[in-house]
Amino acid sequence: MKNRKLQRVLALGLLAVMVLALAGCNKKDDGDIKNFTMFIAMAGSEINDDNEIQQIIAEKTGVKVKETWLTGQTAAEAVGSIIAGGDYPDFIDGGDGMMALYDEGVLVPWDEYLDKYPNLKEMYSDKEWDSFRQEDGHIYWANVFQNTYGENRATTHNDEAFWIQVRVLEWAGYPQIKTLDQYFDVLTRFAEANPTFKDADVIPYTALCEDWKYFCIENAPEFLDGYPNDGSVIVDASSGTPTIVDYNTTPTAKKYFQKLNEQYLAGNIDIEFATQTYDEYIAKLSTGRVLGMCDQWWDFAYTVNDVFKQQGLDKLGCNYVPLGLTIEEGMENRWHTYDDTLNNSSGVAVTTSCKDIDAAFKFLNDILDQEIHDLRFWGVEGVDYLVDEDGMYYRTEEMRTKCADPAYQASHLCNYSYMPQWLGTSHDGKNAMQPNEQASEFFDGLAEPLVKCFEAYNADSYPDMIGSVVEHNQPWFPMYSFSNAMTTDTPGGKAWVKMGEVKHEWLPRVVMSSNFESEWNAYMDAYKAANPQNFLDEMQQELNRRVEAAAE
């Protein structure tokens, strides 16, 4: 009897082992296809293992890359534990952990491969490539975003703005909204007249404060003063010599937060704004009950617009359009960046753990081939897009809806979104590199309320809506590429971390305070204790360096 018991236990164990063996077996064995891994220190959706386009790309290039995204940890924690464990993926985009990876000496220099692989080389000019060089003179990563091939095709405002639902504008008779006061006035009047949407209470305004995405509440003062997105500081060039200005302490900052405070106390701002996670925030926007917020387009629009399309909310005017607000009326605004923004502080890198480094670079090169690039962003011809007699790509309404479906995206589409890619015009000189920039796609894809709104404001696209000053980037732009790469080894870097901590805690408190003046003063005291001057000094040094470098 005892033996039988033992046998049972053993049998159970054996069964488990078999289950495992099976689990272990159903991988590998892809013939000649090389399997690489990639870790991206950003949240993202995993695609299925048997994703169709990934398979097609694998057959054409001989390489398949399994992407793993950030979950349950911050980027720095994830990169830190990867470094500690010493198990590196083949490709990595470490976000603000790039410097840590470089310091660790685990990244492979790109230099020799750039000469070997023309598509890669073509991504940037020599001067731009130079800006990626680290202290030791080598290039270890390339940023893959905001890089235009040929003619610029931008139709969206891929930047920050105060956004407003088109149904609010329609209701208000498409008024001109230029200042914060006018903005909140429209939002609150609309909310009073239409307190619910689809049975849920409308939220006139919300703001995201989570981790680094608190820029949604934090950096509006720089734009409200009419400056472009240098991110961490204002660069004031009005006196001739560019000078760093701290936007956290300007009168505009105070006015802006006072306005938020007033609106919060009046019940017009989401009471969960300070504690909501990015996920909750996106879910809230997706219901269509949030009338407005301040955010970057790329931070919400791709996901939220897909949901609107799926749920038919776009037909009800839930889509957001950007407003070029300034603190006073009649100021110029620089919310929109017309040129490419070169953020050299992070990007895709190949690690020394990679078994076949040459194949890895070859793959980075291959996926820039127009054919593969089309597969990544347009999909399969005849299935995901059609070609008319002029050679222009287009999608039917059905295709558009399908491509917005998360299940379809997981099983069929594969855009290797953190790998080298282009914006702008395709090599054929006609089409856009990415569908959302194809003019016909853009207009055909617009829901009726959006079209009416654009007409009312005499705009052809989102950038027209916001009406920023048309100008080229300054040579030092963007300053955030420097602050992003700061480490706590310098006094400025330490101050930068501390300032962030102070602002994370105090900005929501200031907004929620019942006594604005005293709370603001307490915030200012805490802020000064973080020694922001150390940070500003280092930023000024870098600014001077960049100005000089540009003059050479």
Partner: protein
Amino acid sequence: MKAKRISWKELKNQKFLLICTACFVVYGIIFYYLPLGGWIMAFQNYKTKDGFFDSQWVGFEKFKFLFSDATFLRVIRNTLAMGVLNLVCTFVMAIVFAILLNEVRLAIGKKFVQTVSYLPHFLSWIIVTGILHDALSSSGIINELLVKLGILDTPINFFAHKGYFWPIVAFANVWKETGWNAIVYLAAITSIDPSLYEAATIDGAGRWAKIKNITLPGIRPTIMILLIMNIGNVLNAGFEVQYLLGNGLVKSVSETIDIYTLTWGVSQNDFSLGTAAGIFKSVVAIILIVAANQFAKKTGEQRLF
């Protein structure tokens, strides 16, 4: 204490036990004692590329930094405060629950309540914090109730106020573990001599009086030993709960030593500082448990070892 002579014969007879011991010791050394070697990192400026041998030695510098860092001191405060609060709340609740449940005469009702009470223990913190987060959100059940009962005019955001954080964590612990912890007390209560209750009934004692005079003294030894066992865990106030429920606004009250270790040790790549914080925690835990044990010895209560 007297040194025992070990004869060869004895060893030979215990061959099986010795072989097992050898295996267990090897296993223990590999998985538990070898990582302790990592403690050297606390005295180095450890860099992974240099390894243990080539990293720079810095002596007690990391510890010095630790105790001069206002954040670390605050983190100790948070850990202790939440640890004590959790300990007290879960203890009191488990005892109260056990006593009250014991007073239930209806057998099926008792069984049902008890079975339900274990349930949360089996749920992971991910699930528990998820549920709690939803319940306390502005459209959650708690706000809905408070507004309906007229206690609040408008929903409040519980996670935005520092004052609520510790109680929320304590509540989460109570919710999860009350039923489970009560098992021991319930068993202890059943082992109390029933004749004591009979005698009390004859004397005309009410239920309260019986609880106060018989039940509570009866389970006193159990309470004491569990208290001692748990005191060493005060610094384990938690990681997951705070990690999953915290946010920027309440960070100054939500961060515990474990989270501090994680942020410095892993995010800022200062493994040495993280390890130093970990050592501090281990040392305090040992001191606490030994002290509690000594205290128990003195007062004549049961001891752990």
